[in-house]
Amino acid sequence: MRYETIHLRLGPFTAALTTAFREVGEALARLYPPQFRKAVGAFADFHVALVPGKGVRRFVRPQARFLIDGQDPFKPLPADQALPLVEWGLNYAIAGLAHQYMIVHGAAIEKNGRVAILPDAPGSGKSTLTAGLIHRGWRLLSDELALIRREDGHVVPLARPVNLKNASIDVLKSFAPHAVFSEPVADTVKGTVALMRAPDDSLERVDEVAPVRWIVFPRWRAGEAAQFTPFSKAASLIEMGHHAMNYSLHGAQGFALLSEILEKSGCYRFAYGDLNEAASAFDALAAAA
């Protein structure tokens, strides 16, 4: 079996990914621009590998295993899930190792130099909303992990592909027909998943940090009109603490950092049922700032 090592830029990080799955390398080439591929041998923050399953099973039902520094944190998955496994594994690596940042499980998008953080919650429609907004003039900083710089509270872009699930995939293909998608992968633990490449503008501006201006807790519900509802800053801070994956590690400084962000931010719940309406509502929010 032939292995290939790809040095891939992930925002401020570089991951050295060694893979035995040729199709993964090809998919990553579609999802990340050429300038995000670094020279082999470049310094890497994370050393990860995607290798075949062990034993006889690899001949009967081929599997993929994800390794970080040679360790195997996940159960093997069917080989056709190798690409989502890589993206999930890279999230795991960043969330577990990049504690120089406050890492909030959620999306971060920017317009006019101001960032909206959308903390994730099951069924919130966060990724669908993010994917839609970044094709209506908002810049993608991150879909899954908002990296907050401790010294000034600015968000550092990752600009990695957006993870879409199930019906959202076709919704986005219709909403953003020129967007680049990976092939959908069925029967994962999250259902059918596909990755959507970040827009070129987001990729080109991957070094531009920006301050947080809004904290928005989205909720998708069929037929619901797009509407922002003000949300208590105190409750928002508690929610942000729940979504900050390494909040406890940062202790009092983490609390002070989130408090400062909340002090300067508008906090809202956002209900929506239609992406076009949602985009209009977000544009109005940005225009009013």
């Binding site: 208590s232 800053k233 105190a234 409750a235 801070l237 508690i238 603490g241 406890s248 202790g251 009092a252 609390f255 002070a256 408090s259 909340l262 002090e263």
Partner: protein
């Protein structure tokens, strides 16, 4: 919350511990306790009492008097409400005894 104060604790004068950082927005308090690593959210009477103890130390009689003047207590026993809320703060290790 059903915690009750130990009689000895009810006699003390208390303040918010120095290890507690906090913010107030619209009468709600979010407090980070560096001793426990926990973050708490207090609203309504608990928010008021926390802010009062952060501003100045207090004991049950003085806090009860201040609460009666400043807050519309929904229950008919302000002293009991003060004691119960102080007990909660003590349980969460948010207070230091002053005297």
């Amino acid at each position: 919350m059903t915690a009750s104060l130990h009689p000895r604790d009810a006699t003390g004068t208390w303040r918010i511990a120095a290890a507690v950082d906090w913010r107030a927005w619209d009468g709600e308090i979010v407090a980070y306790n560096d001793r426990s690593g926990d973050t708490h959210h207090f609203a309504d009477f608990a928010g008021w009492l926390f802010a009062r103890l952060a501003a100045a130390p207090g004991d049950v009689p003085s806090l009860t008097a201040a609460a009666t003047d400043a807050v519309e207590l929904r229950c008919g026993a302000p002293a009991a409400t003060v004691e119960r809320t102080l007990a909660l703060f003590q349980k969460l290790d948010l207070l230091d005894r002053v005297a």
